[in-house]
Symmetry: C2
Subunit: 180 residues, 2 copies
DNA sequence: TAGCTTTGGCTACTGCCTATAGCCTAAGCT
DNA sequence: AGCTTAGGCTATAGGCAGTAGCCAAAGCTA
Protein backbone atom coordinates (compact mmCIF):
# COMPACT_ATOMS: atom_id res chain seq x y z
CA UNK A 1 0.00 0.00 0.00
CA UNK A 2 2.80 2.42 0.85
CA UNK A 3 4.47 1.69 -2.46
CA UNK A 4 1.54 1.89 -4.82
CA UNK A 5 -1.35 3.51 -3.01
CA UNK A 6 -4.05 2.18 -0.74
CA UNK A 7 -6.10 0.58 -3.48
CA UNK A 8 -3.01 -1.22 -4.73
CA UNK A 9 -3.07 -3.76 -1.93
CA UNK A 10 -2.94 -7.26 -3.36
CA UNK A 11 -3.60 -10.33 -1.26
CA UNK A 12 -1.34 -12.30 -3.55
CA UNK A 13 1.56 -10.00 -2.71
CA UNK A 14 0.79 -10.20 0.98
CA UNK A 15 0.80 -13.97 0.76
CA UNK A 16 4.07 -13.96 -1.14
CA UNK A 17 5.73 -11.87 1.53
CA UNK A 18 4.36 -14.14 4.23
CA UNK A 19 5.77 -17.10 2.34
CA UNK A 20 2.40 -18.81 1.91
CA UNK A 21 0.06 -19.40 -0.99
CA UNK A 22 -2.67 -16.82 -1.65
CA UNK A 23 -5.66 -19.04 -0.83
CA UNK A 24 -4.26 -19.66 2.65
CA UNK A 25 -4.97 -16.04 3.53
CA UNK A 26 -8.65 -16.80 3.33
CA UNK A 27 -8.33 -18.81 6.52
CA UNK A 28 -7.75 -15.48 8.27
CA UNK A 29 -9.83 -13.00 6.27
CA UNK A 30 -12.95 -13.84 4.29
CA UNK A 31 -12.18 -11.25 1.61
CA UNK A 32 -9.92 -8.41 0.57
CA UNK A 33 -12.46 -5.94 1.90
CA UNK A 34 -12.28 -7.61 5.29
CA UNK A 35 -8.57 -6.85 5.35
CA UNK A 36 -9.34 -3.21 4.59
CA UNK A 37 -11.96 -3.21 7.31
CA UNK A 38 -9.46 -4.47 9.87
CA UNK A 39 -6.94 -1.85 8.76
CA UNK A 40 -9.60 0.84 8.88
CA UNK A 41 -10.53 -0.14 12.40
CA UNK A 42 -6.96 -0.31 13.60
CA UNK A 43 -6.33 3.10 12.07
CA UNK A 44 -9.36 4.73 13.66
CA UNK A 45 -8.44 3.29 17.04
CA UNK A 46 -4.88 4.55 16.76
CA UNK A 47 -6.04 8.00 15.72
CA UNK A 48 -8.57 8.17 18.54
CA UNK A 49 -5.93 7.24 21.05
CA UNK A 50 -3.56 9.85 19.62
CA UNK A 51 -6.01 12.74 19.87
CA UNK A 52 -7.06 11.65 23.36
CA UNK A 53 -3.51 11.37 24.55
CA UNK A 54 -2.67 14.72 22.99
CA UNK A 55 -5.41 16.38 24.99
CA UNK A 56 -4.47 14.36 28.03
CA UNK A 57 -2.95 16.56 30.70
CA UNK A 58 -4.56 19.82 29.63
CA UNK A 59 -7.71 21.40 30.95
CA UNK A 60 -10.64 20.70 28.58
CA UNK A 61 -11.12 23.75 26.36
CA UNK A 62 -9.06 25.67 23.81
CA UNK A 63 -5.86 24.83 25.70
CA UNK A 64 -6.40 21.12 25.09
CA UNK A 65 -7.58 21.52 21.52
CA UNK A 66 -4.22 22.64 20.14
CA UNK A 67 -2.14 19.74 21.48
CA UNK A 68 -4.88 17.28 20.59
CA UNK A 69 -5.02 18.48 16.98
CA UNK A 70 -1.25 18.41 16.74
CA UNK A 71 -1.06 14.90 18.12
CA UNK A 72 -3.69 13.82 15.60
CA UNK A 73 -1.86 15.43 12.69
CA UNK A 74 1.40 13.85 13.81
CA UNK A 75 -0.26 10.43 13.97
CA UNK A 76 -1.62 10.93 10.45
CA UNK A 77 1.78 11.81 9.03
CA UNK A 78 3.24 8.74 10.69
CA UNK A 79 0.46 6.53 9.34
CA UNK A 80 -0.25 8.09 5.99
CA UNK A 81 -1.45 4.95 4.34
CA UNK A 82 -4.00 4.23 7.04
CA UNK A 83 -5.02 7.89 6.98
CA UNK A 84 -5.75 7.72 3.26
CA UNK A 85 -7.93 4.70 3.85
CA UNK A 86 -9.72 6.44 6.73
CA UNK A 87 -10.26 9.93 5.41
CA UNK A 88 -10.59 9.40 1.69
CA UNK A 89 -12.50 6.65 -0.07
CA UNK A 90 -9.82 5.17 -2.26
CA UNK A 91 -10.91 1.53 -2.46
CA UNK A 92 -13.64 0.75 -4.99
CA UNK A 93 -16.65 -0.72 -3.25
CA UNK A 94 -15.23 -0.61 0.25
CA UNK A 95 -17.25 0.94 3.05
CA UNK A 96 -16.22 0.34 6.63
CA UNK A 97 -18.40 -1.76 8.91
CA UNK A 98 -20.14 0.04 11.78
CA UNK A 99 -17.75 -1.55 14.31
CA UNK A 100 -14.74 -0.26 12.39
CA UNK A 101 -16.32 3.16 12.07
CA UNK A 102 -17.23 3.52 15.74
CA UNK A 103 -13.92 5.09 16.85
CA UNK A 104 -14.38 7.79 14.22
CA UNK A 105 -17.58 8.82 15.95
CA UNK A 106 -15.69 8.89 19.24
CA UNK A 107 -13.12 11.25 17.70
CA UNK A 108 -15.89 13.55 16.60
CA UNK A 109 -17.38 13.44 20.08
CA UNK A 110 -13.97 14.11 21.61
CA UNK A 111 -13.56 17.38 19.75
CA UNK A 112 -17.20 18.34 20.26
CA UNK A 113 -16.61 17.91 23.98
CA UNK A 114 -13.51 20.11 23.91
CA UNK A 115 -15.41 22.81 22.04
CA UNK A 116 -18.32 22.66 24.48
CA UNK A 117 -15.83 22.98 27.34
CA UNK A 118 -14.25 25.99 25.66
CA UNK A 119 -17.68 27.57 25.30
CA UNK A 120 -18.37 26.84 28.96
CA UNK A 121 -15.18 28.61 29.94
CA UNK A 122 -16.12 31.64 27.88
CA UNK A 123 -13.31 31.08 25.36
CA UNK A 124 -15.65 30.70 22.39
CA UNK A 125 -19.04 31.92 21.26
CA UNK A 126 -21.79 29.36 21.97
CA UNK A 127 -22.39 29.01 18.22
CA UNK A 128 -19.05 27.22 18.00
CA UNK A 129 -20.66 24.16 19.58
CA UNK A 130 -23.54 24.19 17.10
CA UNK A 131 -23.77 22.00 14.06
CA UNK A 132 -22.13 24.53 11.80
CA UNK A 133 -19.33 25.25 14.27
CA UNK A 134 -18.48 21.56 14.53
CA UNK A 135 -18.54 21.19 10.75
CA UNK A 136 -16.17 24.14 10.46
CA UNK A 137 -13.86 22.70 13.10
CA UNK A 138 -13.76 19.38 11.27
CA UNK A 139 -13.05 21.17 7.99
CA UNK A 140 -10.27 23.23 9.54
CA UNK A 141 -8.50 20.03 10.53
CA UNK A 142 -9.22 18.23 7.30
CA UNK A 143 -7.83 21.04 5.17
CA UNK A 144 -4.13 21.01 6.01
CA UNK A 145 -4.12 17.26 6.42
CA UNK A 146 -5.68 16.66 3.04
CA UNK A 147 -3.36 19.13 1.34
CA UNK A 148 -0.36 17.60 3.00
CA UNK A 149 -1.26 14.04 2.05
CA UNK A 150 -1.97 14.80 -1.58
CA UNK A 151 0.66 17.44 -2.32
CA UNK A 152 3.57 16.55 -0.10
CA UNK A 153 3.19 12.95 0.94
CA UNK A 154 6.29 11.48 2.43
CA UNK A 155 7.01 14.64 4.38
CA UNK A 156 7.12 14.33 8.15
CA UNK A 157 4.91 16.36 10.45
CA UNK A 158 7.72 18.80 11.12
CA UNK A 159 8.72 19.33 7.48
CA UNK A 160 5.25 19.62 6.01
CA UNK A 161 4.31 22.93 4.48
CA UNK A 162 0.70 22.33 5.49
CA UNK A 163 1.03 20.48 8.77
CA UNK A 164 2.92 23.54 10.02
CA UNK A 165 -0.42 25.32 9.99
CA UNK A 166 -2.03 22.94 12.47
CA UNK A 167 -0.86 24.69 15.67
CA UNK A 168 -2.54 27.85 14.43
CA UNK A 169 -5.94 26.27 13.94
CA UNK A 170 -7.33 26.88 17.44
CA UNK A 171 -6.60 30.60 17.02
CA UNK A 172 -8.28 30.57 13.61
CA UNK A 173 -11.33 28.88 15.06
CA UNK A 174 -11.40 31.32 17.97
CA UNK A 175 -11.20 34.24 15.54
CA UNK A 176 -14.32 32.97 13.80
CA UNK A 177 -16.22 32.38 17.06
CA UNK A 178 -15.00 35.05 19.48
CA UNK A 179 -16.71 34.95 22.87
CA UNK A 180 -19.68 37.29 23.19
CA UNK B 1 -16.07 5.46 -11.58
CA UNK B 2 -19.16 7.12 -10.12
CA UNK B 3 -20.53 3.75 -9.12
CA UNK B 4 -17.47 2.17 -7.55
CA UNK B 5 -14.90 4.85 -6.94
CA UNK B 6 -12.23 6.39 -9.10
CA UNK B 7 -9.85 3.46 -8.94
CA UNK B 8 -12.66 1.14 -9.99
CA UNK B 9 -12.50 2.25 -13.60
CA UNK B 10 -12.18 -0.79 -15.84
CA UNK B 11 -11.33 -0.51 -19.50
CA UNK B 12 -13.24 -3.70 -20.11
CA UNK B 13 -16.40 -2.09 -18.75
CA UNK B 14 -15.84 1.04 -20.79
CA UNK B 15 -15.45 -1.09 -23.89
CA UNK B 16 -18.57 -3.06 -23.09
CA UNK B 17 -20.61 0.12 -22.79
CA UNK B 18 -19.19 1.42 -26.03
CA UNK B 19 -20.15 -1.85 -27.67
CA UNK B 20 -16.61 -2.74 -28.70
CA UNK B 21 -14.03 -5.27 -27.56
CA UNK B 22 -11.53 -4.20 -24.87
CA UNK B 23 -8.40 -4.31 -27.03
CA UNK B 24 -9.95 -1.82 -29.45
CA UNK B 25 -9.67 0.84 -26.75
CA UNK B 26 -5.92 0.68 -27.09
CA UNK B 27 -6.23 2.33 -30.50
CA UNK B 28 -7.24 5.49 -28.62
CA UNK B 29 -5.31 5.28 -25.34
CA UNK B 30 -1.99 3.51 -24.84
CA UNK B 31 -2.87 2.46 -21.28
CA UNK B 32 -5.35 2.78 -18.46
CA UNK B 33 -3.20 5.47 -16.89
CA UNK B 34 -3.40 7.50 -20.09
CA UNK B 35 -7.18 7.52 -19.68
CA UNK B 36 -6.76 8.82 -16.15
CA UNK B 37 -4.35 11.43 -17.38
CA UNK B 38 -6.84 12.68 -19.96
CA UNK B 39 -9.57 12.79 -17.30
CA UNK B 40 -7.23 14.56 -14.89
CA UNK B 41 -6.43 17.18 -17.47
CA UNK B 42 -10.03 17.69 -18.47
CA UNK B 43 -10.93 18.07 -14.81
CA UNK B 44 -8.23 20.59 -14.05
CA UNK B 45 -9.19 22.64 -17.09
CA UNK B 46 -12.85 22.62 -16.10
CA UNK B 47 -12.05 23.62 -12.55
CA UNK B 48 -9.73 26.42 -13.68
CA UNK B 49 -12.41 27.78 -15.94
CA UNK B 50 -14.98 27.59 -13.14
CA UNK B 51 -12.91 29.57 -10.63
CA UNK B 52 -11.98 32.12 -13.29
CA UNK B 53 -15.55 32.59 -14.39
CA UNK B 54 -16.66 32.85 -10.77
CA UNK B 55 -14.28 35.73 -10.19
CA UNK B 56 -15.19 37.20 -13.57
CA UNK B 57 -17.14 40.41 -13.14
CA UNK B 58 -15.85 41.32 -9.69
CA UNK B 59 -13.00 43.62 -8.80
CA UNK B 60 -9.86 41.58 -8.00
CA UNK B 61 -9.60 41.28 -4.20
CA UNK B 62 -11.72 39.83 -1.41
CA UNK B 63 -14.91 40.65 -3.33
CA UNK B 64 -13.88 38.32 -6.14
CA UNK B 65 -12.51 35.60 -3.87
CA UNK B 66 -15.88 34.59 -2.43
CA UNK B 67 -17.68 34.03 -5.74
CA UNK B 68 -14.62 32.35 -7.20
CA UNK B 69 -14.38 29.87 -4.31
CA UNK B 70 -18.09 29.19 -4.50
CA UNK B 71 -17.96 28.58 -8.22
CA UNK B 72 -15.05 26.18 -7.67
CA UNK B 73 -16.85 24.30 -4.91
CA UNK B 74 -19.96 24.07 -7.05
CA UNK B 75 -17.94 22.67 -9.95
CA UNK B 76 -16.42 20.09 -7.61
CA UNK B 77 -19.79 18.91 -6.37
CA UNK B 78 -21.00 18.62 -9.95
CA UNK B 79 -17.88 16.68 -10.95
CA UNK B 80 -17.13 14.68 -7.83
CA UNK B 81 -15.46 11.82 -9.57
CA UNK B 82 -13.03 14.07 -11.41
CA UNK B 83 -12.44 16.00 -8.19
CA UNK B 84 -11.45 12.82 -6.37
CA UNK B 85 -8.97 12.03 -9.10
CA UNK B 86 -7.60 15.58 -8.99
CA UNK B 87 -7.38 16.30 -5.30
CA UNK B 88 -6.74 12.88 -3.83
CA UNK B 89 -4.40 10.22 -5.15
CA UNK B 90 -6.73 7.26 -5.42
CA UNK B 91 -5.24 5.37 -8.34
CA UNK B 92 -2.27 3.11 -7.57
CA UNK B 93 0.73 4.19 -9.55
CA UNK B 94 -0.91 7.08 -11.33
CA UNK B 95 0.73 10.50 -11.32
CA UNK B 96 -0.45 13.14 -13.74
CA UNK B 97 1.78 14.28 -16.58
CA UNK B 98 3.12 17.85 -16.41
CA UNK B 99 0.76 18.92 -19.22
CA UNK B 100 -2.23 17.59 -17.33
CA UNK B 101 -1.04 19.23 -14.14
CA UNK B 102 -0.43 22.67 -15.67
CA UNK B 103 -3.96 24.04 -15.10
CA UNK B 104 -3.65 23.22 -11.40
CA UNK B 105 -0.70 25.59 -11.20
CA UNK B 106 -2.80 28.22 -12.96
CA UNK B 107 -5.53 27.79 -10.33
CA UNK B 108 -2.98 28.36 -7.61
CA UNK B 109 -1.73 31.45 -9.39
CA UNK B 110 -5.30 32.70 -9.83
CA UNK B 111 -5.96 32.70 -6.09
CA UNK B 112 -2.51 34.07 -5.30
CA UNK B 113 -3.30 36.95 -7.62
CA UNK B 114 -6.63 37.63 -5.91
CA UNK B 115 -4.94 37.62 -2.52
CA UNK B 116 -2.21 39.97 -3.70
CA UNK B 117 -4.90 42.28 -5.06
CA UNK B 118 -6.71 42.18 -1.72
CA UNK B 119 -3.48 43.07 0.04
CA UNK B 120 -2.95 45.91 -2.44
CA UNK B 121 -6.40 47.28 -1.63
CA UNK B 122 -5.69 47.14 2.07
CA UNK B 123 -8.23 44.37 2.69
CA UNK B 124 -5.68 41.91 4.06
CA UNK B 125 -2.39 41.97 5.93
CA UNK B 126 0.59 41.61 3.56
CA UNK B 127 1.49 38.31 5.22
CA UNK B 128 -1.60 36.81 3.59
CA UNK B 129 0.24 36.81 0.27
CA UNK B 130 3.27 35.07 1.76
CA UNK B 131 3.97 31.38 1.45
CA UNK B 132 2.20 30.51 4.67
CA UNK B 133 -0.81 32.64 3.83
CA UNK B 134 -1.25 30.91 0.50
CA UNK B 135 -0.88 27.51 2.12
CA UNK B 136 -3.55 28.46 4.64
CA UNK B 137 -5.84 29.71 1.90
CA UNK B 138 -5.43 26.48 -0.01
CA UNK B 139 -6.11 24.48 3.16
CA UNK B 140 -9.22 26.50 3.95
CA UNK B 141 -10.66 25.53 0.58
CA UNK B 142 -9.52 21.93 0.74
CA UNK B 143 -11.08 21.36 4.14
CA UNK B 144 -14.80 21.64 3.45
CA UNK B 145 -14.41 20.11 0.03
CA UNK B 146 -12.57 17.09 1.34
CA UNK B 147 -15.04 16.61 4.18
CA UNK B 148 -17.94 16.90 1.81
CA UNK B 149 -16.56 14.42 -0.68
CA UNK B 150 -15.71 11.77 1.87
CA UNK B 151 -18.59 12.15 4.34
CA UNK B 152 -21.50 13.27 2.24
CA UNK B 153 -20.78 12.40 -1.36
CA UNK B 154 -23.80 12.57 -3.56
CA UNK B 155 -25.03 15.74 -1.92
CA UNK B 156 -25.33 18.80 -4.14
CA UNK B 157 -23.52 22.04 -3.42
CA UNK B 158 -26.64 23.53 -1.89
CA UNK B 159 -27.47 20.58 0.37
CA UNK B 160 -23.95 19.85 1.60
CA UNK B 161 -23.30 20.31 5.30
CA UNK B 162 -19.71 21.31 4.51
CA UNK B 163 -20.07 23.15 1.21
CA UNK B 164 -22.38 25.52 3.07
CA UNK B 165 -19.27 26.79 4.83
CA UNK B 166 -17.57 27.90 1.63
CA UNK B 167 -19.14 31.38 1.41
CA UNK B 168 -17.78 32.12 4.85
CA UNK B 169 -14.19 31.31 3.99
CA UNK B 170 -13.11 34.77 2.81
CA UNK B 171 -14.25 36.19 6.15
CA UNK B 172 -12.34 33.47 8.00
CA UNK B 173 -9.23 34.22 6.01
CA UNK B 174 -9.65 37.94 6.61
CA UNK B 175 -10.03 37.31 10.33
CA UNK B 176 -6.67 35.55 10.34
CA UNK B 177 -4.94 38.28 8.32
CA UNK B 178 -6.65 41.54 9.26
CA UNK B 179 -5.19 44.62 7.54
CA UNK B 180 -2.55 46.40 9.60
C1' DT C 1 -9.14 4.88 -61.48
C1' DA C 2 -5.68 1.67 -59.13
C1' DG C 3 -3.16 0.93 -55.46
C1' DC C 4 -1.14 2.20 -51.06
C1' DT C 5 -1.77 3.82 -46.22
C1' DT C 6 -4.28 4.67 -42.22
C1' DT C 7 -8.02 3.87 -39.09
C1' DG C 8 -10.37 1.14 -36.18
C1' DG C 9 -12.32 -2.89 -35.48
C1' DC C 10 -11.46 -8.01 -34.37
C1' DT C 11 -9.59 -12.85 -32.14
C1' DA C 12 -6.21 -15.23 -29.53
C1' DC C 13 -3.31 -15.12 -25.86
C1' DT C 14 -0.26 -14.09 -21.53
C1' DG C 15 0.06 -13.28 -16.92
C1' DC C 16 -1.88 -11.43 -12.88
C1' DC C 17 -5.59 -11.00 -9.64
C1' DT C 18 -9.68 -12.52 -6.24
C1' DA C 19 -12.16 -16.11 -4.72
C1' DT C 20 -14.01 -21.06 -4.21
C1' DA C 21 -13.71 -26.15 -3.67
C1' DG C 22 -11.81 -29.58 -1.67
C1' DC C 23 -7.66 -32.29 0.05
C1' DC C 24 -4.37 -33.24 3.77
C1' DT C 25 -1.54 -33.10 7.99
C1' DA C 26 -0.54 -32.11 12.53
C1' DA C 27 -1.88 -30.26 16.83
C1' DG C 28 -5.10 -30.20 20.44
C1' DC C 29 -9.01 -31.64 22.86
C1' DT C 30 -12.24 -35.28 24.85
C1' DA D 1 -7.58 -43.49 21.03
C1' DG D 2 -10.14 -41.06 18.28
C1' DC D 3 -12.41 -36.86 16.79
C1' DT D 4 -12.15 -31.87 15.67
C1' DT D 5 -10.00 -27.86 14.30
C1' DA D 6 -6.33 -24.90 12.38
C1' DG D 7 -3.82 -23.90 8.79
C1' DG D 8 -1.47 -25.20 5.08
C1' DC D 9 -1.89 -26.92 0.04
C1' DT D 10 -3.37 -27.63 -5.33
C1' DA D 11 -6.63 -26.97 -8.90
C1' DT D 12 -9.70 -24.10 -10.94
C1' DA D 13 -13.07 -20.38 -12.48
C1' DG D 14 -13.69 -15.96 -14.09
C1' DG D 15 -12.20 -11.05 -14.53
C1' DC D 16 -8.75 -7.75 -15.69
C1' DA D 17 -4.71 -5.04 -18.41
C1' DG D 18 -2.14 -5.31 -22.07
C1' DT D 19 0.25 -7.45 -26.57
C1' DA D 20 0.43 -9.64 -31.19
C1' DG D 21 -1.22 -9.88 -35.22
C1' DC D 22 -5.18 -10.24 -38.66
C1' DC D 23 -8.46 -7.78 -41.60
C1' DA D 24 -11.78 -4.61 -43.88
C1' DA D 25 -13.13 -0.22 -45.19
C1' DA D 26 -12.18 4.50 -45.80
C1' DG D 27 -9.24 7.93 -47.56
C1' DC D 28 -5.50 9.65 -49.97
C1' DT D 29 -2.26 9.82 -53.99
C1' DA D 30 -0.10 8.97 -58.32
Amino acid sequence: MAEEGVAGLSLATVARRLGIQPPSLYKYFPSRHAVYDALFRRGQEGYLEAVRRGAGPHEPGLAAMGPSLEAGARWIMENQVLAQLMFWRPVPGFTPSPEAYAPALAVHEHFAELIRAAVGRGELHPDAAGEEGLALAASLIAGPVSQQLSNEPGASYEEGRFTRLVPRLPAVFAAVYPPP
